[in-house]
Symmetry: C2
Subunit: 180 residues, 2 copies
């Protein structure tokens, strides 16, 4: 989701000014009453490619945006967790699947919405899953089975394309790319 | 810097409640007046290891925290930039040095302050730099010259230790680690 523009100071409630503070390089939401500067920064989306016998577990979204389209288990990283912990948490919440992480697979910048995807390859420990409330259903897909025209996000498509291409070679390397 | 706890809705200014919204898993700052939920998420710190003839350019901080201690050029990623663009911008702002990125070198989670460091190796195009206002001075350091007891952050120390160890082998690989 896009964050809405800051209108009020989150420390004292006064209406903010949007201006470049002295010594700064970017416009910020500055409070004329208490002086607090409310920063906005890009957010990380952490998640996994859960793999069982070469097939990847995708989740059909039960929430907006992109209701009914397929995605990897992933979501916003929370305070006081590491990227690995966030990836495990999101996979557990959305797919209800037991996994072990196999290393960072993709770092993708989605500049228009100020998001950074950090997705890990993961080994499913058994072919069993239990989707959470944000997921209509989950299913394993091989390279030829992926619903390419029903994927929720371009980052997911790009990641899956790269993953299945590398799967042919048997060797995986960190994928770094930008989505405009 | 630690973000201060959210006290007021940044959309309407009303004092927020801190509670777990329906269907959510974490406590949030929820506005009882307009219903807006103000999320907080970890922030990325982007920067570089600028290298000239095997030595790394460090910057002596002219700002708090850690005034007078040495660090790599790095800072908070801004909205509407990629991690690469952020790393280049911070290096330019803090060290005033022309570089080309050589690839992501380190991803470090600093969970207690909810920060993720993303640092790139970078080639300096010439042995010239011009520190910005946040830097007292900048200087090149080889493995045996680094002021190990005057480094500003543990992430910087850990990254430099790993970099100079790998320098012996002539091969660099992505470093992923956590700082508690
Ligand atoms: Zn204020
Ligand atoms: Zn409100």
């Amino acid at each position: 989701m896009h964050p809405r523009q800051i209108q009020h100071c989150n420390q004292c409630g006064t209406a903010v000014e949007h201006r470049v503070p002295e010594g700064d390089t970017h416009a910020r939401a500055v409070c004329p009453a208490c002086g607090h500067i409310q920063y906005e920064n890009p957010r990380n989306i952490v998640g996994t490619l859960p793999v069982w016998e070469g097939r990847v577990l995708l989740c059909k979204r039960a929430i907006q945006p992109r209701y009914g389209l397929w995605t990897l288990p992933a979501g916003f990283m929370e305070m006081h967790e590491t990227t690995e912990q966030g990836a495990l948490r999101e996979t557990h919440e959305e797919a209800g699947v037991e996994i072990e992480l196999d290393g960072l697979y993709c770092m993708a910048n989605v500049k228009p919405v100020s998001q950074v995807y950090l997705l890990y390859r993961a080994r499913m420990l058994r072919p069993h899953w239990e989707p959470g409330p944000e997921t209509l259903e989950a299913r394993l897909f091989g390279a030829t089975e992926v619903p390419w025209d029903q994927l929720a996000f371009r980052t997911v498509r790009e990641t899956l394309e790269r993953f299945f291409a590398e799967q042919q070679t048997g060797r995986y390397s960190l994928q770094i790319f930008d989505i405009d």
